[in-house]
């Protein structure tokens, strides 16, 4: 028998994962929502998605060329950013809105801070908020079946009832990718099963949001209303945000405890913005605000290397 030892340098444990493969999985997971969005809103949604993705890739490659860095569009992260940005836009936006959004997401939020891994907030969401503040009218006008309507969440805020089934399936007004809760859930569960994302952030996010909302409902004397709760969970960008935006590797904590804190914080902020805020939606602001707190969360949740440390002797 040959007992020769094999000597190699670290790392010794290897994995299938690479940035390209992980981003590929995210794109696959986003496909149900994207395809449903295109089916729901027609060809104009497809145009928005394509413009957004192509301009993101061009901006990334162009900027890296310009400053003589290695061009890394092959890692698909720009494609994911473009796709997420498009899913966050209403289907009726003019063609220059996704281009401007891509510029902000890729150049300002991502590349100026050092590229992939260095951005302090989710590029797609940063761009969405940039566009939302700049072009509030265009970004909050939703047409469905050629009729301008309010989103289910806005109707809910105005005190009207909601059709939970159509919100679950997605046949409502909204941004391209946010309407169908079931398509997003399929994608999200796919990511969790494939271990691309950890279950903690979405579960604690949605859970804490539901709990805060129920406590508030009781506090204002509303009886336990499952329709209200489900409409809030399926409405707006909550599902999209919880599974695809909040779990962005770069801008979420890496420690398990940090993920829990992050999720609960997101739930609380989303509840706060949706309930007391001026607009019906609050997911994107909640996520980018929490993104900024990630370094602090990670600092207080650094795990101990070995054991639990000696007891303190006074």
């Amino acid at each position: 028998m040959d007992y020769t030892m094999k000597i190699s340098s670290s790392p010794h444990i290897r994995d299938w994962a690479s940035t390209t493969k992980l981003m590929g999985q995210v794109i696959v997971a986003l496909m149900p929502a994207t395809i449903f969005g295109i089916y729901n809103f027609g060809i104009k949604a497809l145009v928005v998605v394509l413009i957004s993705i192509i301009s993101c890739v061009i901006f990334e490659a162009g900027f890296q060329k310009l400053i003589h860095k290695k061009v890394t569009v092959g890692d698909l992260s720009a494609v994911v950013t473009g796709l997420l940005l498009a899913l966050n836009l209403p289907p009726d936006v003019p063609f220059w809105i996704p281009i401007l959004g891509s510029f902000f997401a890729i150049i300002i939020v991502k590349q100026l801070f050092g590229g992939l891994g260095q951005n302090f907030m989710n590029p797609a969401l940063g761009a969405r908020c940039f566009l939302l503040i700049s072009f509030t009218g265009r970004m909050t006008t939703f047409t469905y079946d050629a009729v301008t309507t309010a989103t289910p969440l806005a109707q809910l805020k105005a005190g009207e009832g909601a059709d939970v089934l159509s919100m679950f399936l997605g046949t409502t007004a909204g941004t391209i990718g946010e309407t169908s809760a079931v398509a997003l859930l399929i994608g999200g569960i796919f990511l969790i099963v494939r271990k691309v994302i950890n279950y903690r952030i979405p579960v604690y996010y949605l859970g804490s949001f539901s709990i805060f909302l129920m406590i508030y409902s009781f506090a204002v004397g509303r009886s336990l209303d499952l329709t209200f709760l489900l409409a809030h969970l399926f409405g707006g960008g909550l599902m999209l945000g919880a599974f695809f935006m909040a779990t962005d590797y770069v801008t979420s904590p890496i420690t398990p405890k940090g993920k829990i804190i992050f999720g609960v914080l997101l739930g609380f902020l989303t509840f706060l913005f949706r309930t007391f805020g001026g607009s019906a939606e609050g997911v994107s602001y909640a996520i980018i605000l929490s993104n900024l707190l990630v370094p602090l969360i990670e600092r207080v949740t650094v795990p101990k290397s070995f054991g639990k440390g000696a007891e303190k002797h006074e």
Binding site: K69, I108, G114, G115, G117, Q118, F130, I133, S134, F135, T136
Partner: protein, 242 residues
């Protein structure tokens, strides 16, 4: 005479309070929503800066060292009050658009900074020109930020329409975040020119030469600023001793 010119150049370019010293950021961010506001705020500050620099320079041998800051504040606040009433009386539109930021000039760190670091040690003549230079530098800073914010956020410059009617203004630029974007881009552009100039002049430029930039850099002493190996070593030694 040479020194007076040097004071002017120093205030406007080499030690520009907005772009180099990064002083007075609060009014810089708040009032530069349009170019005219930038000019108004800058010139108001200039007038107060010149007057207070002269007065403090005159009093520099009278003011006891221990109570100099309160004394400076009294001098500055008096001038601010005078200017405020003048503005209210003669330029009410500017007075309205600058609002709370006029009385806040009292605590503007440029004015206090120049009083402390220059006027209290130099002659009246030089202090006056220092005030003019710094004030004009501040005005240049505010106006250029205001021009970009007004152009992109409203499509106009000094209320003249530049962009075509079909241009949809980027409202975010005349809101608070826009001030940070524009300031950052202007500083970046200037640093590019400065570094290029210094390199051309053959000066040893203390710029980090990492090809990949700050990405993955573990040098916590640098914090994004350019650094030399010596300065890092010195920092490390200082940390060891402490």
């Amino acid at each position: 005479m040479n020194k007076t010119v040097e004071r002017l150049k120093c205030g406007m370019i080499t030690e520009n309070p907005t772009f180099v010293q990064m002083l007075g950021m609060c009014p810089t961010m708040a009032v530069t929503t349009s170019a005219i506001n930038g000019v108004g705020m800058g010139l108001t500050t200039t007038v107060i800066l010149v007057l207070s620099n002269m007065m403090i320079s005159m009093l520099r041998k009278v003011i006891p060292d221990k109570v100099r800051i309160p004394a400076y504040i009294v001098v500055i606040a008096s001038f601010v009050t005078i200017v405020q009433f003048l503005l209210e009386g003669f330029v009410p539109s500017l007075y309205d658009s600058l609002g709370i930021y006029i009385p806040l000039i009292v605590v503007n760190c440029i004015i206090l900074g120049r009083a402390e670091s220059f006027a209290s040690k130099n002659s009246i003549w030089l202090s006056m020109f220092d005030g003019i230079g710094m004030g004009l530098g501040f005005t240049i800073g505010l106006t250029s930020i205001g021009i970009f914010r007004e152009l992109l956020g409203n499509g106009t410059i000094f209320n003249f329409r530049i962009m075509p009617e079909s241009y949809e203004p980027l409202t975010i630029l005349i809101l608070a975040p826009g001030a940070f974007f524009v300031l950052a881009f202007l500083i970046a552009a200037q640093n590019k020119v400065r570094i290029h100039k210094a390199k051309k002049a053959g000066a040893s430029v203390t710029v980090c030469e990492r090809e990949e930039g700050c990405a993955g850099c573990t040098n916590t002493f640098c914090g994004g600023k350019a650094f030399t190996e010596e300065s890092v070593k010195r920092e490390k030694d200082a940390a060891k001793e402490a």
